[in-house]
């Protein structure tokens, strides 16, 4: 469904991504993990068209979108959330979702009902009329998820959706992600919460210093010595950066 082929990005002297390959399949939750600064968000930006890669290709459904802008890609079915929140702060929670629904052609009561349904799905229906900029981080992330879902994406990229959520909430989020995959969506999940990742992902890619160092099922990745080393090493180099 989504294929990233040999993508490289550098910022000045820093290689943020180095020949990265990733496959995200329909009907599955695919994980992308790695220490801070590994390049996960940069990869999301490349996939969604916010960052031009120096090298490599991005394919959606076999179609090369490397040179398409973010809007075009959105219309091809790519949706995402942002690690640094990008909610519409001066709108209410419901209006945030309505912007997306109305852009898709829904109007009036139909749009509102669809909006409430989406909010219910992520557990925000009781905050529907709250102004979005007063939401705590965790709920704002869920709002971004609901808003992205309103576009009925075929591939959805989530950048640390559970940070700011407590244990129960993040378990609910996990179930939602599995459901979405079950409905035929391709989900790419960047997450620091390893329990969540191990539980919901069928395949995991591990990124370190811009390189994919390991790919496989959760059990394989967990025991991969390279991954263990990266996380141990990442802890010290991460602090320097």
């Amino acid at each position: 469904m989504l294929r990233v082929d040999e993508v490289s990005v550098s910022f000045g002297g820093l290689k943020a991504l180095d020949a990265v390959d990733i496959d995200v399949d329909t009907g599955q939750v695919t994980g992308l993990i790695g220490p801070n600064g590994a390049g996960k968000t940069t990869l999301f930006n490349v996939i969604t068209g916010f960052q031009r890669p120096d090298n490599g290709e991005v394919l959606v459904d076999g179609r090369d979108v490397t040179h398409a802008g973010p809007k075009k890609r959105a219309r091809l079915g790519l949706g995402r959330t942002f690690q640094r929140l990008e909610i519409f702060g001066s709108l209410t929670v419901l209006d945030n979702v309505l912007v997306a629904l109305e852009n898709g052609g829904l109007r009036g009561r139909h749009a509102r009902e669809a909006g409430i349904d989406l909010l219910r799905r992520v557990g925000l229906e009781r905050s529907a009329l709250t102004q979005a900029d007063v939401l705590p981080t965790g709920m704002a992330r869920l709002l971004e998820l609901a808003r992205a879902l309103a576009c009925r994406p075929r591939v959805i990229l989530l950048d640390e959706p559970s940070s700011g959520l407590d244990g129960t909430e993040s378990a609910q989020l996990g179930r939602l992600l599995v459901d979405l995959a079950g409905e035929g969506m391709a989900v790419l999940l960047v997450e620091h919460d390893m329990d969540l990742v191990m539980r919901v992902c069928t395949r995991i890619h591990v990124l370190d210093f811009g390189r994919i160092i390991s790919v496989g099922a959760p059990a394989e990745v967990r025991t991969d010595p390279a991954v263990q080393a990266a996380y141990l090493g990442g802890a010290s180099t991460g602090a320097e950066r």
């Binding site: 959105a74 690690q83 945030n96 997306a100 102004q131 981080t137 991460g238």
Partner: protein, 640 residues
């Protein structure tokens, strides 16, 4: 040939290098603080006047005066301004940032006018007057050599600053992503202070050096900065070498233009028009960076006013207006009517800037077009066709301006509109083919079918009703589907892109509608005064209008009403004071401080209660920025 050489020398050594000094000052303040300093020219002007005061009035030797002004007074001023006014605006919206520096510009002019009476002629002798050298037939004065030397020295110093010092390296190239700088461990606030000190100092050098070449004139020196903007744009406010090249090219263009082009009536202000055209071309051909994740703006949006509430408030206001129409004394109406008409023009800013997030510095140009159309089409009877023409003309011109300008982001759009406004000043408003030899057009009040509104009292009530109708309309627009999309685009363009929202169409619609409102306001403003002249729509007044709008809360319609009336009352004060500029300066100064402390204005819903509640709420909830957990902590769960 000899004329060509002379023009080239003047272009480089007199103009180009001075522009380079100003422009480099702009670059250094923008790079270190992220704030574009509109007051750069005004600050240079103050520096030049201080220098004149010390060297000519108090008889200091010129080197001493120069040193004190450039190395002590101006750096202190810059650092002080940064600390007191600008630091708190780091996360404010562009309009608030621009407004504060615009206030500084107006304040600089007002203060200088109050201290140094503009009707007195002053001259600053050049350095080493009478000394000159001849190099291969080209004659250069020592003063010109000093100009060239100073700009070269400044370029070298800044280059070293940006590449060899810690603050310079830390701030270089990250100006559009200050959070990234914070991540990499720099402390931008400290460097911003340094940047402002350097920027002010450079502008003073430019002001002092150019003062002996042109007159020591408040407005001339202040507007010198426009040339600086144009040059700095060539370097996209970042690259010093490109900025320098831009400055020299502009200096040459100007020198050749003045030397060779025929002086026609239409382009009598050639010296002002060339930099504006240059700026416009540079901005429009400038490659825009790809959609990037937007700069974070942390302002709390004002509460959305519901339908019932807006109707209730509107009715109440009209009620008050009717009572006032019967009770105010006859003399007050000229001020009141102008004030309400201005408030209508300011509503165009609420739509465009407050809701739409686009800053325009040419709203009065649209208003002027509206008044022009009303005068020409409405005739002496004030036919309603005139109103239609006013709305239509300003909307059409607005759309034409918007089309190329919409691909520009924030600051660049603001500067493009400024260039347009200045162009209009020079080529349209001050053109006797348009405004007649007397430079005045009579504008009739609209003739309504059922009831006459031509008396002052009735016109007042009429204006209040029009204001209320537009305000209620804007609030309704804001709650509509179009409004949701408009606010979404303002809040997060990035998110809109990922939702596939077509932003260009919405922005174009907003810009056009806003121009139409300004045009309508302009036509009614003309009616309030019965006549308009170019002095009613100078671009500098567009700046003042934005300042007032922001100070009273650009996202609130109530704020515009108060702003318009205050603006008009300002001129009432002027008429009664011996130093008219003092009142204005006071007004502007208060506005600047107000904006820097509370960018949302007094009617933005941030009542004391609400701020207190927010604070209490925040203490309990997790911080709203994404807190990344150090990787080490995650290891436990990854391994376990």
């Amino acid at each position: 040939m000899s004329q060509f050489l002379a023009l080239t020398v003047a272009g480089i050594a007199t103009y180009g290098c001075v522009y380079a000094l100003t422009a480099m000052g702009l670059v250094v303040t923008y790079t270190t603080s992220g704030i574009f300093n509109f007051a750069q020219g005004a600050i240079g002007m103050i520096g030049a006047f201080l220098y004149w005061e010390l060297s000519q009035v108090h008889g200091w030797p010129s080197w001493a005066a120069f040193t004190v002004v450039v190395l002590f007074v101006m750096p202190l001023l810059g650092a002080g301004l940064e600390r007191i006014l600008l630091r708190r605006l780091e996360h404010a919206g562009l309009e608030a940032q621009l407004t504060v520096t615009i206030a500084l510009l107006l304040l600089g002019i007002a203060v200088a006018t109050a201290i140094w009476n503009p009707s007195t002629a002053r001259t600053v002798p050049p350095f080493f007057a009478g000394h000159q050298v001849s190099i291969g037939g080209v004659v250069l004065t020592w003063h010109q050599l000093i100009i060239v030397g100073a700009s070269a020295a400044a370029a070298v110093v800044l280059r070293l600053f940006f590449y060899r010092t810690r603050p310079g390296i830390a701030t270089r190239a990250v100006v559009d992503d200050r959070e990234l700088t914070a991540l990499t461990g720099a402390a931008p606030a400290r460097y911003a202070e340094l940047g402002w000190a350097m920027g002010c100092s450079l502008s003073a050098v430019a002001g002092i050096l150019i003062a002996s070449q042109i007159n020591l004139d408040i407005n001339n020196l202040t507007l010198l900065v426009v040339n600086g903007y144009a040059a700095a744009m060539v370097g996209r406010l970042r690259s010093l070498p490109l900025t320098f090249v831009g400055a020299i090219v502009l200096g040459l263009l100007q020198s050749y233009g003045v030397g060779y082009l025929p002086i026609s009536v239409l382009w009598s202000d050639l010296e002002q028009v060339i930099p504006m055209l240059f700026l416009l071309v540079v901005i429009l051909v400038l490659p825009q960076s790809r959609a990037s994740l937007a700069r974070r703006v942390r302002v709390r949006a004002p509460r959305v006013v519901g339908r019932r509430e807006s109707l209730v408030r509107g009715t109440a206001f009209i009620g008050i207006a009717v009572v006032l129409a019967f009770t105010l004394n006859a003399a007050s109406f000229s001020y009141a009517n102008r004030g309400i008409a201005l408030a209508i023009i300011m509503l165009s800013l609420t739509l465009l800037t407050g809701y739409g997030g686009q800053v325009s510095l040419c709203q009065l140009s649209f208003a002027g077009l509206g008044a022009f159309a009303m005068s020409k089409v409405g005739g002496t009877g004030g036919s309603l066709l005139g109103i239609l023409a006013a709305v239509g003309l300003s909307a059409a011109v607005g759309a034409v301006v918007a089309l190329p300008a919409l691909r520009l982001r924030g600051l660049y759009l603001a500067l493009a509109t400024l260039a347009f406004a200045q162009g209009m000043d020079a080529a349209f408003f001050n053109n006797i083919d348009v405004f007649g030899v007397s430079l005045s057009l009579s504008v009739a009040r609209p003739h309504l079918p059922l009831v006459s509104v031509t008396s002052d009292r009735r016109y007042f009530a009429f204006l209040c009703i029009v204001f209320t109708a537009i305000a209620i309309g804007l609030l309704a627009l804001r709650r509509s589907r179009f409004g949701r999309r408009m606010l979404a685009i303002t809040d997060s363009p990035s998110a809109c892109l990922t939702l596939g929202v077509d932003m260009t169409r919405s922005k174009l619609a907003i810009f056009t509608l806003s121009a139409a409102i300004a045009g309508l306001g302009g036509a009614l403003y003309g009616g309030a005064q019965s006549a308009v002249s170019p002095n009613d729509f100078p671009f500098i007044l567009s700046l003042t209008l934005l300042l007032l709008a922001v100070a009273w809360g650009i996202r609130t319609t109530t704020g515009m009403l108060v702003g318009g009336v205050v603006f008009s009352l300002g001129s009432l004060l002027d008429a009664h004071l011996t130093h008219p500029r003092d009142a204005f300066a006071l007004l502007v100064g208060v506005a600047a401080i107000g904006v820097s402390q509370n960018p949302e204005g007094p009617f933005g819903g941030r009542t004391v209660m609400r701020m207190w509640r927010d604070r209490a709420g925040r203490a309990g909830s997790p911080p709203s920025t994404s807190a990344e957990v150090p990787p080490g902590e995650r290891l436990t769960s990854a391994a376990g």
